[in-house]
């Protein structure tokens, strides 16, 4: 029973990591850039939701606020691409990395300036109550996180396999030149990827804030999510999610069975092992060397 308890709460945490990792991979696949502000996107998404829902701000109905928050974060992602990142086209990778790190700082401090630096709680209907079954205690939020992540993953899967836009995103990520000749507006499609990454981050943020308190440093979860994305194999969507789950599950087990302090290190120790033994990640799609 203890095992189940650790596993389930680990999975719930892992889902949030996984969703942030998905954001990393989405942008990396489409634009070959790593968005180090993805964790801060998630934090901002949570605060946007908080601004809409909490009584001291707009006091909106939670379920009404979800699509609005998604739209705001989607628009923000698109605008960021349009105003900043599109102009970095053809620049050195390092420049883009530094830029997104700086973006993370900007998002963090703007958020602090608007919503304050103290920890706050999102008024979420998911944050109430526990469920006890078979000797396992799970908060409603944990269950919601797992269910929403499963649904999100299935929707994203459908989106990339079936839709014109999703297929265009895949095509543009593999060969921009060829994509243009198939009639795909590559730059607009890349903007749409940023919008999608913003929306995924928003979902992750809402779930994160439903599980506990929120402050502007919540974005540092992005570091763990980045590790998760690398473990899963950067560039693979299911890999990112699996990486997130693995990191999420390792933490509670390491906290329970290893000496104190090791649970903080465990995800990164795994990251190093993966980099040594399977440098393309556990679930990499391409294992041949890219020339």
């Amino acid at each position: 029973m203890e095992f189940m308890q650790l596993l389930l709460s680990g999975l719930a945490n892992g889902c949030v990591y996984g969703l942030v990792a998905l954001g990393f991979v989405l942008i990396y696949k489409a634009t070959e850039a790593v968005n180090f502000a993805q964790g801060d996107f998630m934090m901002l998404g949570a605060f946007v939701m908080l601004g809409l829902v909490n009584p001291q701000y707009m006091g909106m109905n939670f379920w009404l606020a979800v699509p609005i928050a998604l739209l705001i974060m989607g628009a923000l992602g698109y605008l960021l691409d349009l105003t900043v990142l599109r102009h970095m086209f053809g620049q050195n990778q390092t420049a883009i990395v530094i830029l997104t790190i700086a973006l993370g700082f900007v998002i963090r401090f703007v958020t602090g300036a608007i919503w304050g630096h103290e920890p706050v709680n999102l008024h979420s209907p998911l944050a109430l109550g526990d469920i006890r079954a078979f000797g396992v205690v799970l908060s409603l939020a944990d269950i919601a996180v797992i269910i929403v992540t499963v649904i999100m993953t299935m929707l994203l899967w459908q989106f990339f396999q079936r839709t014109k836009l999703g297929l265009a995103m895949q095509a543009a990520s593999q060969n921009q030149m060829a994509a243009y000749y198939m009639g795909i507006p590559v730059k607009r499609v890349q903007g749409a990827v940023w919008a999608l990454a913003g929306m995924v981050a928003c979902v992750a943020g809402i779930l994160y804030a439903s599980k506990g308190s929120l402050d502007i440093s919540a974005g540092f979860i992005g570091i763990k999510a980045f590790a998760a994305a690398v473990i899963g194999g950067f560039g693979s969507l299911p890999g990112a999610l699996m990486g997130g789950l693995i990191v999420g599950v390792i933490e509670p087990f390491a906290a329970r069975y290893l000496p104190p302090g090791y649970s903080q290190i465990a995800p990164y120790a795994l990251l190093i092992l993966v980099l040594i033994f399977r440098p393309h990640g556990l679930f990499a799609q391409v294992r041949t060397k890219k020339v």
Binding site: T163, L167, M177, A178, Y180, Y181, M182, G183, V286
Partner: protein, 266 residues
């Protein structure tokens, strides 16, 4: 009115004039070749038609549409498809997937229909798959249908690229060196395919090609370029025997020597 018209087109890269006051027209149903030594501006012409370069002067129209008003992703919408000298495929996808991307411009469904595979999405998917299978049959790609591009031999990839261009249902097909890097047998196949593309599918072809043997067999009309300028235009035989063309390929001294060998391969 011709299908494709270039009027007094000039393009400069810094101080270099890549294309100089070029006028040409391709009629519907023709197979038209651009020939000339390396750096003559042949691929540059392709890149202007597909709107990657904007000419400094002149106009380009396709079926009455001003191409210079369009963005590069809008050009395929008019029915212009292209292959590349260096093959530009989606390497981490299968042959079939590459061809299906070719159908992109013909998809007319909404996101929700596609997502849940309802309504028009079903019927259209069937239609796209059928169209792609026809192209696969036409170019004998059946054995490779589900193989990744990354592992395929060069000659096959070249055919896949042609297949993808045909999947877009073009009216005008731009082929950038369709025979380069191909074996003698593969070049033979390419020749029959180009013939069939014109005869059976009714697609107009504009190609850049060095292999004069292929050009003289499949093309109705040839334009020779050198240094961005038109040297000669006419039937393959006319262009090959044109003194300026011989001079551009072989140097001035060659004219007298080849004068006897008119109509032979350059």
């Amino acid at each position: 009115m011709s299908l494709l018209e270039l009027n007094n087109v000039t393009l400069k890269f810094g101080g270099v004039t890549a294309v100089n006051d070029l006028t040409m027209s391709v009629e519907e149903g023709q197979v038209y070749a651009l020939v000339g030594p390396n750096g003559a501006g042949k691929s540059t012409v392709f890149n202007m038609i597909s709107r990657f370069y904007r000419p400094a002067a002149g106009s380009i129209t396709f079926d009455g549409h001003d191409l210079l008003k369009l963005k590069s992703h809008e050009v395929p919408q008019l029915g212009i498809a292209r292959t590349f000298q260096n093959i530009e495929l989606f390497d981490r996808a299968t042959v079939l997937q590459n061809l299906l991307v070719g159908r992109h411009r013909l998809r007319r469904t909404t996101l929700v229909e596609e997502m849940f595979f309802v309504g028009r999405a079903r019927a259209q998917e069937r239609e796209h798959r059928l169209a792609v299978e026809e192209v696969i049959d036409f170019l004998d790609l059946q054995p490779y249908r589900n193989q990744m591009i990354a592992g395929l031999p060069y000659g096959v990839r070249k055919v896949v690229e042609l297949a993808r261009a045909l999947s877009t249902k073009p009216r005008l097909l731009l082929l950038d060196e369709p025979a380069s890097g191909l074996s003698v047998e593969e070049t033979q196949d390419m020749r029959w395919w180009i013939d069939d593309i014109r005869r059976q599918m009714g697609i107009t072809v504009l190609m850049v090609e060095h292999d004069m043997g292929l050009v003289s067999k499949v093309c109705d009309r040839v334009l020779a370029l050198d240094g961005g300028k038109k040297l000669a235009e006419g039937t393959p035989a006319e262009v090959q025997s044109h003194p300026k063309v011989i001079e551009a390929y072989l140097g001035t001294g060659a004219i007298s020597k080849t004068a006897n060998a008119k109509g032979e391969r350059v």
